[in-house]
Symmetry: D3
Subunit: 185 residues, 6 copies
């Protein structure tokens, strides 16, 4: 039964608004335990000249990209070793950790580190979850890995989870856990 009304400056696209209403509905449902179907949201869009703060008209912001798309696109680029494309998703001071890797600060460092560990690896996703924090968006992707060991033998069904911190549409941090060490030959 909770009902939300959002006053919003005009200018955000439908996709963003749909992401927003879904995420808000999920928050309300999760916290009040109301059923999602009982939660309605109305967005009242207002032209820039019909809003003022401090007596001044204001402009809408840019809006963020879909963080799950951003992560999925990055993971796909990495899987296909399109490092330039993948680099485009990263913020300054990007840091990543893998099991046993310590902090890595560049994709080339990662590629170097992963040599000798596996020939290639592909990911099958089970869940993607988004946690909104005040200062960042955290995306979690978990599923299973398949690939080949350096000796050419195959593996699959290896559990993994990736944790990404995103700010201003750029990845700031990637932390990876997986079970490769428990199954490696």
């Amino acid at each position: 039964m909770p009902m939300l009304q959002i006053n919003l400056l005009s200018g955000y696209n439908s996709g963003l608004k749909q992401r927003m209403t879904k995420a808000l509905t999920a928050v309300i449902a999760g916290i009040t335990r109301a059923k999602p179907e009982a939660i309605s949201i109305w967005i009242h869009e207002v032209e820039s000249f019909n809003y003022s703060r401090g007596g001044q008209a204001r402009q809408p912001g840019i809006g963020a990209s879909d963080p799950t798309l951003l992560v999925h696109d990055y993971l796909m680029a990495m899987e296909q070793r399109e490092l330039d494309k993948a680099q485009g998703f990263l913020g300054e001071n990007f840091v990543m950790t893998f099991p046993g890797s310590g902090n890595l600060t560049s994709l080339s460092q990662l590629v170097e580190w992963s040599k000798g560990r596996y020939r290639f690896v592909t990911k099958t996703l089970i869940s993607t979850n988004v946690a909104y924090e005040m200062d960042k968006v955290v995306v979690f992707v978990n599923g299973t890995l398949a690939g080949e060991w350096p000796d050419g033998t195959a593996f699959d069904g290896v559990r993994f989870i990736d944790r990404f911190e995103i700010c201003d549409d750029r990845l700031l941090r990637q932390d990876v856990w997986n079970d490769l060490a428990t199954v490696q030959p």
Copy 2:
């Protein structure tokens, strides 16, 4: 600048409402890239007899517990091997996976499985993140493990992440990843 107004039946406690406004603010900030300080939320509480759906007055729901507290309390109980207390947090059909464990369906099964792997383990938390999905709440906890191997030697600083699925204030699923396999003697 986005402004939310929530019509809500009276009866939810302040803690719940505070969790809700924080979570909603973070969603709005994450999606519109507005600064949290620019996002205001007003809750208009309405007595039961001042709300109707289908011409009928309605009662407020129960509200959910704080999912991060629930997870932290469960983890503490497990760390201290208070299995009865820990059991109280679990829903029916609870399932958990650990590196190499496959599906475990009871805490006693877990205790059995972990014997011979370590004498004990404690967790230092770095982050707790909550992702609200339509049908469940997913809580992620990551940090480092410390403890003793079966031979009594100590370890610490071992990366871990736990993923919990929660519905109706009960844990439905716990998935654990860590680097123990990469550091075990």
Copy 3:
């Protein structure tokens, strides 16, 4: 899906507000063809000093009685020939018409007119409907009559409908139709 919010000065009782939300829901349902369960209404009650028109605080009005109760009570009083009680429901210039009676302007005139037509009559109600007009409330009651003819023989199942005009909690007009003429001996 239509959602109503009503700003209302505090002071109306719950019964009145419940009647109001039901009647408003029925209007919205009847006109938009939305299902009643999809129509929610929120009443925002505001203390007198938090409302102003023309810069002046205002007081809430008195509110009307339930018009169906008013009509039912009047009909019961008439059926039991409690004329003094029935008189209390009538406004000045009250007029009533019955089949063949022309305009009657007092209850005693009615009693006189009905003599020789039946010994007594009781009503079984099927429906009571309320139509809200800008300047009055119109209540319709239909059902069947039972009673005795002057010669003591009984009748029942005789269709009737009453139409009442109400203003300021007083009956202004009663118009009666029935099938007595088609069945009288």
Copy 4:
């Protein structure tokens, strides 16, 4: 002084909205006894993509026809014995009753029944009232009948009232009362 705000999906026509604001105003006036001029209504129309329930955008419904027009058109068609046209206004399982007729279930049955009662009859309307119920709309029309008896003599000024139940823009039931039996030769 009561003030209504309606959140409504865009797409309903002006006529429907005008009928709605009038009917809502009359309800509020009738129940609170506020003067209609003191009752204001604001409709906030919202595009489909700016509304969500359960996190899903929704479409507006169809809206109902004006029930008084529907009844008036039906009555006109019947008066002019345009039975095919009149039939178009009827729902399945339509039932009608007239004084002494019992339940009639088709227009042809009615025409048959009325033969021998009058050559023709025309209606002069005094009032049309609409009562909105949760599951149907009830329209009442009262006024006077004029026409010719089977022997060619004229009558007029005969009181009548019709009661119609409407659902989904179709007449489900018509109940007629009049004073023909009290005046017939």
Copy 5:
């Protein structure tokens, strides 16, 4: 933190709405001592057919001109002795007073009265303030006068203040105070 929402019929221009949000923000700031930057205003514009009072759609009013522009334009016209233009700003029964002049009721009377007092005078404005009263708008302009005495000697830096009453975009009254008498030769 105070947040205003204004329901307004569409049709007022942006300039008017901007003046309105500024003036409202200043009132809220002045009375609550909230900082203007913390005060947000949202105007919800509603088409004529989406508003009703007494069940009737209504049209927006005309809106007033900017009262400070009106006063400044009038003062400029007077300074340049464009009396016809200045006359266009005046309402019927316009009255003005100057130090020692008593009530003057026409611009020509003023010109006559000022002869022999100075050859010409120009105004340097310091502040323009607008006070909104229920039945009129009062504009205050203060600053300094410069000009020439009848003997051709110059003066400047002479304090003045003008008080204007405005209704329906016309000046109803002008009251002038200045220090010419304290400095005149």
Copy 6:
């Protein structure tokens, strides 16, 4: 017809809210030319824990004193030469100007300056107007002076206007104009 709704943290007193609704009504009336009686304002008071900005609950501010009372009380204290009391109304860096006085920065300086100009002076107020600016409130008082010249002869009916700048409930500036110079012996 314009309708305002104000979301406000609970805690401001009725007097302040009444001043606010009056001042807002006057602004709306003055700018839209709607009649004050057609302008309604609803204050929705919200408890501190039902409002959040940046996800944090907030407290209401202090609220300002009535600026016209403040000015009237100050003027009364000055008229009665209660300088200590008058001093209490002044902010730091208070400045005042009178005809021919230049900037005076203390009440004692004023008393000194006025000696030899009049024995005493009293004010009869005609109008008090308040102009709300973003950073201050400006109050104007005009009317007539009466008193005695140093030689004991009386004067009255002398036009004056005072302009006060107020911030945080303290007078920052007083500027006085009057016609004493035009009438002094």
